[in-house]
């Protein structure tokens, strides 16, 4: 396991306002966060509270309006587009509510493509993650030929194939029935224990949030309270 005392993600007075013409929509207000390496954190809150926006900013998919973000000690403000993409490529994995698999290629190719973007071709690694998510026998299927639970497993395999330092999941069980949701959350726990990666789970579900070590509650773009839990 990694050293849990080391801060991996830190934000200082993070704010985000969306602008469309003259219309300004503030979404995040003074977010101050500390997430330690190897921690499993759930960010929980009602729809529209800004938790997905927070994840996109932490994942360098979106820039903050003000405030600072430190990822692995690096100030995100100093990163250009290319450096940001590189950090995302090497250190971060994303899992989305709607899976976001490429429909035109097979499950295997979806994972291999992610590796090609990293300019790597590690067939063994791909087979290993397919096995970890129990999808080896569906490797040649296209996403449209898989059930939604299976699609999410492939999406998870794609997100962890490069063993990122941080795995970010945005409502990963939002589109699943309770049985599949339970399996996926179990899979997240298993991955967390096996790989020891830092995980950020964005959810509005109390049940899903219970999978995490710590739950951060958000409301109206602000962090309301921090709750520490211990998952055994």
């Amino acid at each position: 396991m990694n050293n849990m005392s080391e801060t991996l993600i830190q934000t200082e007075n993070l704010c985000k306002t969306f602008r469309s013409g003259k219309l300004e929509t503030p979404v995040l207000f003074d977010i101050n966060l500390n997430i330690r390496r190897g921690e499993f954190v759930a960010v929980m809150g009602p729809s529209g509270c800004g938790k997905s926006t927070l994840m996109h900013i932490l994942g360098l998919m979106l820039s903050a309006t003000s405030g600072r973000i430190f990822l692995n000690g690096a100030d995100a403000a100093t990163l250009n587009e290319s450096d940001g993409a590189k950090l995302r490529r090497e250190k971060i994995g994303f899992v989305f509510q709607r899976f976001n698999l490429l429909p035109t290629v097979s499950a295997y190719q979806n994972i291999a493509l992610a590796e090609r973007i990293r300019r790597r071709r590690r067939d063994n690694q791909i087979h290993e993650v397919l096995e970890a998510v129990q999808m080896t026998d569906r490797a040649d299927y296209k996403p449209g030929q898989l059930s939604i639970g299976q699609q999410q497993r492939i999406a998870i395999a794609r997100a962890i194939v490069h063993q990122p330092a941080i795995l970010m999941a945005d409502e990963p069980t939002g589109n699943l029935d309770s049985a599949n949701a339970g399996n996926i959350l179990g899979l997240f726990r298993k991955i967390h224990l096996s790989y020891g990666m830092t995980m950020i789970l964005i959810t509005h579900s109390e049940t899903a949030a219970q999978a995490a070590d710590r739950i951060i509650h958000m409301n109206d773009g602000r962090i309301e309270e921090r709750e520490r839990r211990l998952n055994i």
């Binding site: 997905s52 926006t53 996109h56 994942g59 998919m61 979106l62 587009e81 290319s82 993409a85 590189k86 995302r88 490529r89 090497e90 971060i92 994303f94 989305f96 709607r98 976001n100 698999l101 490429l102 429909p103 035109t104 290629v105 190719q109 493509l113 992610a114 090609r116 973007i117 990293r118 794609r158």
Partner: protein, 395 residues
């Protein structure tokens, strides 16, 4: 990345096929238009340059491109035929050519009226494959007087004019030795077939051709001048200048005929080039719209790639790859279409020449690649500026 671009194209088979077809048609149009116009001009030029002569003398008003205009007189020949350069006789032979027109194989053909003795210089290495060279009368008057007599006697047995045609025309007109046709009111018979490549597709005895045109005088349209074979280009150029001074006519090197004819048909070539460019622009606009639509459709896919760590450069290259694949496939198909089109054109119209040069094919490939890149620029710009977070939030 190429694999993903390929998978995207395969995923949208009909649209991809239509795009490839659009490029293929544009490339075919480009190559056929250029090949047909240049092929025809080069064919005429090569045939004219096959004459074993170095200089063409003509009236200032005679147009070498259309082979029409002012005439010459045979009696002008002595003005220059004894010219000397560096104290050496400059001219070996002067060959008058009288031009006529005859409709054969569905189109008007230039008839080269030349003396039987001169024909060997027009044939060069090409042989008469069937029949023989024609004979001529001493003067057009022989025919004209005979015609006059027969008209008065109401006699239908008119004198017959002999013709030599080339193999290509014989095949196109489905004619053989012994077949007859008419030159105006005068019956004409094929007496020989010569290998393709001679200056004219139809040759006739010069005096008979004059008579067939109702001309009794020894006029002609051009003199082909066979110069001293030891002369170099500079001496030939000097000879041209001396002929012009002596004969008060225009003299041109046969070797320059290609340039002259191309200058003559400059407007046609500009028109052909313009049509080709317009065809290409329309084609590449089509590709632009196709790739642009594809980019709009796949903004989510691009956002996924970005979430996986793809930079904007990779997104850009993905868009360009796709466009390049369409254009490359279209170009190759277009080249195949071009060969097929040439086969059909030359089969249906044997007298047409579609020239296909390797340099033009390579040019078409370059045009395809450059066009593919240009067509992808705007869609790539759109892809570059799209918001991945917004795209990922769409269903």
């Amino acid at each position: 990345m190429l694999r993903l671009a390929w998978a995207n194209l395969i995923h949208r088979k009909v649209r991809t096929a239509l795009s490839v077809l659009a490029v293929a048609i544009a490339i075919t149009l480009l190559l056929i238009l250029v090949g047909l116009s240049h092929g025809t001009l080069n064919d005429v030029s090569n045939r004219m340059q096959s004459v074993e002569a170095e200089i063409i003398v003509r009236d200032t008003n005679f147009d070498l491109g259309t082979l029409s205009g002012g005439k010459l007189w045979e009696k002008e020949i002595p003005r220059f035929q004894n010219l000397k350069i560096d104290n050496r006789p400059a001219i070996q032979r002067v060959m008058p050519v009288f031009l006529g027109r005859l409709k054969l194989a569905g189109q008007s053909q230039n008839v080269f009226g030349v003396r039987p003795d001169d024909f060997q210089f027009f044939a060069g290495a090409r042989k008469i494959v069937e029949g023989n060279i024609y004979e001529d009368v001493d003067s057009p008057n022989v025919i004209l007087e005979q015609q006059e007599k027969q008209n008065n006697l109401d006699d239908n047995t008119l004198p017959v004019m002999s013709l030599l045609i080339d193999q290509k025309l014989a095949a196109a007109a489905d004619m053989k030795v012994g077949d007859t046709t008419y030159y105006g009111d005068l019956p004409a018979q094929i007496v020989g077939i010569v290998e393709t490549g001679v200056a004219g597709r139809v040759f006739a005895p010069i005096n008979m051709l004059r008579a067939a045109n109702g001309i009794a005088a020894a006029t002609c349209h051009m003199f082909f001048v066979k110069a001293n074979p030891e002369f170099n280009t500079d001496q030939l150029q000097t000879l041209c200048e001396k002929i012009e001074q002596a004969a008060k006519r225009d003299a041109t090197l046969v070797a320059n005929y290609g340039q002259i004819i191309k200058a003559n048909f400059k407007t046609l070539i500009i028109f052909v080039n313009l049509v080709s460019v317009i065809a290409l622009v329309i084609c590449f606009l089509f590709i632009l719209v196709t790739v642009y639509t594809s980019v709009l459709e796949r903004s989510k896919e691009m956002a996924i790639l970005q979430s996986l760590g793809a930079g904007r450069k990779l997104i850009l290259s993905q868009t360009i790859h796709e466009s390049l694949l369409i254009c490359s496939a279209g170009t190759l198909l277009g080249i195949a279409f071009t060969f097929a089109a040439r086969y059909f054109i030359e089969t249906a119209r044997p007298l047409m020449t579609v020239e296909i040069r390797l340099s033009w094919l390579l040019g078409a490939v370059v045009v395809g690649i450059v066009g593919g890149i240009f067509s992808a620029l705007y869609p790539a710009y759109v892809a570059w500026h799209h918001d991945p977070v917004e795209a990922l939030s769409f269903e």
